[in-house]
Every structure is written in C-alpha cells, then in structure tokens.
C-alpha cells in the first residue's frame, strides 16, 4: 500500500483534467443537446402545446417550407445580420483602437462606452420604445420634427431602428475585443513604421488592420451567429412588426410555437435556425484560413 503513496503526484492533475469538463458538459447536454434532439423530434409531430402529441411525418416540414413566411423571415434575419455587422464592425474597430491608447481620458471614455452592455435587452428595448413613441416620445416632447417620425410603425424605419439599437447595445462589447487585439500588436511594428515615415492613418491601415485579422473573424463570428438569435430586443421593440417587417427567424419560431400553438412547424424552424447557425460558423472559420491558429505576432 505504501507504494501508492510514494507515487509521484505529478501525474494526478492530468488524469483529473478531463473530469473538470464534466459539469460544463452536463449543462451543455442538458440544456442544449437534449432540447435540440427534442425539437428535432417534435418537428415530425403535430402538437398544440396543450394536448397530446401526434406523430405526423413531414407535415410540419412541408408546411414550413412552403410558407412564404419562411423565406421572408430568413431574408429579414440575413438583412439584420449583414447590416448590423456592416455598422458595428468599423465602429468597433475605430473605438477599440482609440481605447487601446494609454492616455487616462481614453480609459474613462472606455468605461462610458461600456454602459449599454450592462443593461438587459428588454430594458433597452422598453427605453427606446418610450423614446421613439410618435405621440409621447422624445420628438413629440421636445417638439423636434426630425425626431417625431413614426419610427417603429413604418417597415423601413422600424428595421433601421432595430439595427441601430442592436448596434448601440453590442458595439461596446466588440470594441472591447478590438481593444484587446490592438494592445497585443507589438510596439516595435509601429516604431519601424514610424522610422519608415508612415503617418497615423497609414499605420492604421498597414499595421493595425492586418494585425487584427483574427480578432475581426472572432468578433464577426460572434456578431453573425449571435444575430441569428436576436429575439428579446426585437420582440419587445416591435414584436416583429409592423406587419412582418422585422420578424426574424427566431421570432417567427416563437410566434408559431407559442402564439399560434403550432409546435411542430415551430420546431422545424428551430432546426433550420441551428443548421443556419452551424453553416455560418463553419463558413467564417473557413474564411479565417487554415492557419487560423498560427500567431500573427512577431516572426509570424
């Protein structure tokens, strides 16, 4: 027995290591994989959410795939994704680069920019809804005509508002990612560029931006895949309206499942959401190239 105690303790942490992942794995299986399998199974049934579940083969899939609501919801989801990416990325890069500077005032501003991220989506949506109310909102209260538009009542405007509010909420988060990315770029690169006579703008485009390549991919993946699941903010702000102008896929799923009591078709949409999310995540990884894991720092 004494031989056991004399065994070098060095190996122990390694054999424990995989077990440390167990709690996370249990949660992941319990709250992600199992519901996913459940949703997949439900998509082959007819269920109103209250009574018995009847297997019905491909009925739900046929219903969802032939419904013009699906391509529309996919299109809106894609638009929200693309436009909010196009708005957020340049803003976040610029803000991140700015905040990466060492001056004290930049750190203070950085904290201020961070505020929207600390609010819940529902609170943000309610606040914006009140501010943008055409009759009792900011524009009407201050008698500013330019502001008292029917922001959430016209399809184009409502879409713009959704993108704006989403960006307002998430730009701080992505700025933070870029700030970290910029701070990791070795000083020596800038010093060399300065010696070669490159100005600030030239430095930004020739050093900062290329060096941020993988940060951009990380941030974009989060933005794109995250935008598939925008739900709370849009639900509170417009409820997918006016009409179906801002009805993204996640909202379409909710409305079918919980408002129209069609759990089968709603589950089919849930499965489509997962597939689209996986496809996008894979695509973005591909864009990153095969050497995604390689260092971009000195000597790379």
């Amino acid at each position: 027995m004494s031989s056991l105690t004399s065994r070098p303790p060095r190996r122990e942490p390694r054999s424990i290591l995989p077990w440390l992942a167990v709690p996370a794995l249990v949660l992941f299986v319990g709250f992600a994989v199992l519901p996913l399998i459940g949703a997949f199974a439900l998509s082959f049934t007819t269920w109103d959410g209250i009574g018995a579940i009847h297997p019905s083969g491909l009925t739900s899939w046929r219903e969802v795939l032939t419904d013009p609501g699906l391509p529309h919801a996919l299109w809106v989801t894609f638009l929200v994704m693309a436009v909010s990416w196009a708005v957020q990325t340049p803003l976040s890069i610029l803000l991140g680069t700015f905040m990466a500077g060492r001056q004290r005032y930049r750190a203070v501003l950085g904290v201020v920019y961070f505020v929207p991220l600390m609010l819940s989506s529902a609170a943000i949506a309610i606040a914006y809804k009140a501010l943008l109310d055409p009759n009792f909102g900011l524009g009407a209260g201050l008698k500013i005509d330019a502001l008292s538009k029917d922001w959430l009542g016209r399809p184009g405007l409502a879409f713009g508002v959704v993108v704006f509010v989403v960006s307002w909420q998430f730009v701080p988060f992505h700025s933070l990612i870029y700030q970290g990315g910029v701070q990791q770029i070795p000083k020596s690169l800038y010093e060399a560029a300065q010696l070669d006579g490159a100005g600030r703008i030239r430095q930004f485009f020739s050093i900062t931006l290329p060096q941020l390549k993988y940060t951009i991919i990380t941030s974009s993946t989060l933005m794109v895949v995250g935008s598939l699941t925008f739900f709370d903010l849009i639900f509170v702000l417009t409820e997918g309206g006016p009409g179906d102008a801002t009805r993204v896929l996640a909202l379409d799923m909710y409305k079918r499942g919980f408002q129209a009591s069609l759990m089968g078709p709603a589950s089919a949409i849930a499965v489509i959401l997962v597939l689209v999310g996986l496809a996008l995540a894979l695509l973005l990884r591909r864009l990153g190239g095969r050497d995604a894991g390689a260092s971009q720092l000195e000597g790379a």
Binding site: I50, D133, T229, S261, G277
Partner: protein, 436 residues
C-alpha cells in the same frame, strides 16, 4: 472528442433559441404548498379588485389559502398556454372562454364543472345567463363566469368635438365625413393601439356585423368553406382600408401597444377625438385621465350602423364575462378550495361594489339599483343596456377562434391595416385556416 470546437461554437450560439422552445414554461408556482394557485391579469384598477377578492377569501379561510400571481395581458396569453402544456398550470386558470377554453377542454386539461353547477344551481342562477355561452364546450360547462361584462364601446372626447364644432357620428358615412374635419385641426380622428392587433380587430368585428349581420362571422366559426370571401366581409375589409387611407387613425398606430394605455392617453389628452375600445377603458380613463371622466368630457355610444347594412345596430361584441377554470392536474385538495372560492369568493357584495366603482358592470343579476346609485351611473346604465339588450352579443374573435386560427387572423389584420394585403388576399389567407 468527436465534436470539433467550431461545431460546438455553432451549437452554443444557435441552440439557445431552440432550447428556449423546448425548455420554456417550466417555471411558475405550480403546486407548491398545498394551497390553490391562481393566475390573473395585472393592470389597475382591475388587478386591485381581483386581489381584493383573493385577500378576502384567504382571510375568511385561514386553512385554505389561495396564492395569486399576476401577468400582463399579452404576455399572459402565451404564458398560460405554455404552463398548461407543461403540466404546470395554476389551480385556477383565468381566461376569456371560447376557442382557447375549447382547446383546454379537448385536451382534458380543465375540469368539467357541469355536475358542480347542477349541485350548486343557486350559483348559476345568480349570474347573467348570457355569460355561460363562452364557458360551454359541446354542452358541458368548463369554466365559472366571473367579473364583468365588457362590450366594445365607441368613446369620444366631447371637448374636442365642441372645439371642432361637430356632432358624434350616426352612421359610417358620418365617420368618414368627420375624419378630414379632425385632421384639418391636427387632431387624430381615432386613437388606436395597433401593435396589440386585437385592437384593430374590434373594427372588423363591428363592420362585419353592421354590414352583413352576425351570420358572417358565425359561418367562420361553424367552419363553412370560404366564409371570409362573403361579399359583406370584403365590403367591411375595404371600408377599414378606406378609413386607414383617409388617415382615420392616429399617426404611428402600428407601434402603439394597448398594454401601455397610450391609446387611452391620446383620447383624454385631446389628441384623438374617438376610440373604439372595451368597456374596461372607462375605468382606466377615470383612473389616469385626471378630471377627464369626472368633468363629463368622455362621451360613449354604440358603433353606428353602416348605410344599407343588414346588422341590427343593437348587436355588440366583446367579452360576455371573464372565466375561471380549474386545472385537471390540480390535487383534490386544491380543486376543493377552487370550487369553494367560486361559490363563496367570487362576485361577493364587496367585489361587486368595487367593480361598479370602477365603472364596470358585474355579471351578477339584480344589481340594477346598485348601478343606478353609483358614481358614473350613466355609463354603467349604458353598458348594462348594451349588454342586456343586444340582440346578439358576439364574443371577441380572437377568443372565439382556436389559437391557431386566431394567430393567422391577427397577423393578417395588422397587414390589412398596413395596407400590405388587399381585402381579397386577406380573405383567402383566412379561408385557408377555417376549421383549424
């Protein structure tokens, strides 16, 4: 590890939405401490009356407690369905009866109260007979009618009418003639909380009835093929779009929710001249509109007839009552408390007085004297007459239909008001869900 990191990343990002679908509705009080649970709507002044009835019952029955939880109107409609489906329903389920109650009853989720009402004939005899229609599914009673009768009423702001120098409309043509007059003075002809969707639906309910009579919608309920393509229906849908085109509704109506009460605020702040809304609106305007109601500025009338229409102008729609059902999943003890609450805790004298003070007409028989003596007696008398003299008191469409058909209806109503579907498209979209 067969799963690569990127697969996990994708899963982790995309799964919560589907997880939400499968895992929703598992919260809620459920069957906690042996007492009965009871969910109902919040929002004053109604919430206070409901809570008061529960408090009074709990005080009188220290051993049989009812635990109440409140929800916002539009959120409750989803929440309660999910909770029932997940087997986590409260003992006492508050609702509107009709099509939703039918889905509960057909799934065996609510108690059949027919025999209980036979045993307690006095309870049944004390209530408006008309209130039992929406509580009955295939000849069996599945809910206890409670609270108040709520027809839809056309409210108007007398101050604004005086300012513009016009009279309340007596026909649809009058309405269309009033629209430009109010718009010229910068006052919206009608307030509307269009994002809530059922608010727009009230317009169709009346226009269908006034033009084609109650048979038009009855045909939909009875599952008649292409019932929505009835010429009277197309005419009603066209008329609503004409009103929208003429700027009959407040600017930005599609982003106003009824739960926020801003549609009511538009009326009592003189920014809108008229509003079609439920009888409960009176209490809200009385509570929130400062002296708007007490100074006599709030006018009310029934929806006017449409020229050449077939419907009887006394017909009305709305909520014949509110309904309490008992979850079949509740324990015997909980069911006993619930039934006892129905018999001895609902519409007691104190609650009746509170409803009347809020400008509502309780569904208890023999309250004429109380109504006549109350503050706001003219409105109470008006509501009582509308409810009791209506040739047909139709139930709100979204409650009368199944949830699936109701969702398609509400969705298309918004599109109709947005002018993004024509009356014909509207009819064909809805014909597709008849009987579903």
């Amino acid at each position: 590890m067969a799963l690569s990191r990127r697969t996990l990343l994708g899963l982790a990002a995309a799964v919560p939405a589907s997880a939400a679908l499968a895992a929703c509705g598992s919260s809620g009080p459920g069957k906690s401490n042996g007492g009965a649970s009871y969910w109902y709507l919040n929002g004053q002044p109604q919430e206070g009356v409901r809570a008061g009835a529960v408090d009074a019952y709990n005080k009188a029955h220290p051993k049989a407690q009812i635990e109440d939880t409140t929800f916002e109107n539009d959120a409750y409609k989803t929440k309660i369905k999910t909770a029932i489906g997940a087997g986590k329903a409260p003992t006492i389920i508050w609702g509107w009866g009709g099509g939703t109650l039918r889905t509960y009853a057909e799934a065996g989720q609510v108690e059949d109260l027919t025999s209980w009402f036979d045993e307690h004939a006095d309870v049944k005899k004390g209530l408006f007979p008309s209130s039992f229609g929406a509580a009955t599914v295939d000849g069996k009673i599945y809910a206890m009618p409670v609270e108040v009768v709520q027809p839809i009423i056309l409210y108007y702001n007398k101050k604004v009418f005086d300012k513009v120098g016009v009279k309340p409309p007596e026909s649809w043509d009058d309405i269309m003639a009033l629209v430009p007059k109010f718009n010229a003075k910068g006052i919206a002809p009608f307030a509307l909380g269009g994002q809530s969707r059922w608010t727009n639906m009230m317009w169709l309910e009346f226009l269908f009835d006034r033009i084609g009579g109650p048979e038009v919608f009855q045909a939909v309920i009875e599952g008649e093929k292409n019932a929505w393509s009835n010429p009277a229906a197309i005419d009603a849908l066209t008329k609503v779009q004409e009103l929208v085109k003429a700027d009959g509704f407040i600017k930005g109506f599609s982003s106003i929710t009824a739960d926020s009460n801003s549609d009511q605020a538009l009326l009592y702040t003189d920014r809108a001249a008229m509003m079609l809304h439920g009888a409960w609106s009176y209490g809200i305007q009385q509570a929130e509109g400062e002296d708007f109601v007490s100074s006599g500025s709030l006018g009310f009338m029934t929806f006017p007839p449409v020229e050449g229409g077939k419907g009887d102008p006394s017909n009305t729609v709305g909520n014949p009552a509110q309904y309490l059902s008992i979850s079949s999943k509740a324990s015997a003890e909980q069911k006993k408390i619930a039934k006892d609450f129905f018999a001895t805790g609902t519409l007691q004298d104190d609650e009746v007085k509170k409803w009347i003070a809020n400008g509502s007409v309780p569904i208890r028989l023999g309250i004429e004297k109380l109504l006549a003596d109350a503050k706001g007696a003219d409105f109470l008398q008006f509501t009582y007459d509308v409810a009791s003299k209506a040739k047909v008191f139709g139930q709100s469409w979204d409650q009368a239909l199944s949830p699936t058909a109701a969702e398609t209806l509400l969705d298309n109503i918004v599109k109709l008001f947005q002018m993004s579907v024509s009356p014909k498209q509207f009819a064909s979209n809805l014909n597709a869900v008849i009987g579903k």
